[in-house]
Symmetry: C2
Subunit: 209 residues, 2 copies
């Protein structure tokens, strides 16, 4: 099964950084204005879904188009995620999902949780950051010295985690939603392991500059 890449309509500055995330064989789903980002990335979407309130370009001939109503519960991006799950994908990369509107940025963390709760691999990326939600288990994280590794409880009051390979260690440490003490950890070498005893957690990797 190939990976499902969903491109949202958030503004993308450094398109060349996002290009590095794409792999041959990816199935590309564009949420509305994500179509314009796909064009800048040089990829042809398999599907474009939206109310077409935020895109400038027209879907290419090859792409399937699903026109969504303007008034709906799900965001266009969430529609694409559910469509991807319905088509059997279990590995998702989400681009064009941060920046500009803070409501969509925050809502897209919820989308990651939706995927994690359904056992799907989930990664959100922009030119400076990566994020994923983990419900439980051990998660290997690769990062260099110039990247901060942060862990937050997500969709819960508090979480319980252990770290291996991070400069500020934790062993069954409790992180609460109101005190973001899991922010800005550092890898000792190039890999860390985050064990989620009680989740869900949101893991964010941010390049310092």
């Amino acid at each position: 099964m190939s990976r499902c890449v969903i491109i949202g309509s958030a503004p993308v500055e450094h398109v060349e950084v996002l290009k590095e995330y794409l792999r041959e064989g990816d199935t590309i789903l564009c949420a509305d204005g994500g179509l314009d980002t796909a064009a800048r990335l040089g990829v042809i979407p398999h599907l474009v879904a939206g109310d077409f309130d935020s895109c400038i370009g027209r879907p290419p001939e090859e792409a399937q188009v699903i026109r969504l109503p303007v008034c709906k519960d799900d965001t266009d991006l969430m529609f694409c995620v559910k469509e991807g799950l319905r088509r059997g994908f279990d590995d998702f990369l989400i681009l064009g999902a941060t920046g500009g509107r803070l409501d969509h940025t925050y809502g897209n963390f919820g989308v990651l949780l939706y995927l994690a709760n359904r056992g799907a691999k989930n990664l959100l990326a922009d030119s400076q950051n990566q994020a994923f939600v983990a419900v439980s288990g051990m998660w290997k994280v690769k990062a260099d010295k110039g990247t901060a590794v942060s862990v937050f409880p997500y969709g819960c009051v508090r979480c319980c985690v252990s770290y291996q390979g991070l400069a500020y260690p934790l062993e069954h440490g409790i992180l609460s939603a109101e005190e973001p003490i899991g922010v800005s950890n550092q890898v000792i070498h190039d890999t860390a392991v985050i064990t989620v005893h009680q989740g869900p957690v949101l893991v964010i990797l941010s390049r310092l500059q």
Copy 2:
């Protein structure tokens, strides 16, 4: 008691929009690189706190300076919030807290919850967005047609809210962390009331363009 304005070190593009948030008599606390934003805003901080890893300028003579260690649990911004509470403030405006590093942006929502849990009025603003956390009660929100009003559970699995004056109404509606259906509502006139029956909730107002 004056209001406590905390300026973080996140990148600020449209400094002129943030100027409109400032009021005479505000007490300004800068978290590290927030000092540079204060200079661009034309305000002299009362206090500058940080490990000074992110600011370019030097604190002005008038400002109190608290030098923090590089290795610490709290972010510089959270230190300022706790310092503000310690000095008796119960009304906080946070600027320079979004954009760039997604870990700090997300962590700063936790800072809002920290304030809300202590009964303090809290508002985070950037040039396109406003956000606050409400634990319970009725909250009047002013917005125009070009602004989306979004409500999310924060630091909890689900919340229960009612809306008055919003285009998509809710009456004791349950919002879950994984399905961001509270995203992008619209005011019918210019004011809405959000009643939080069970929180906490994160309310985000985002200008559409």
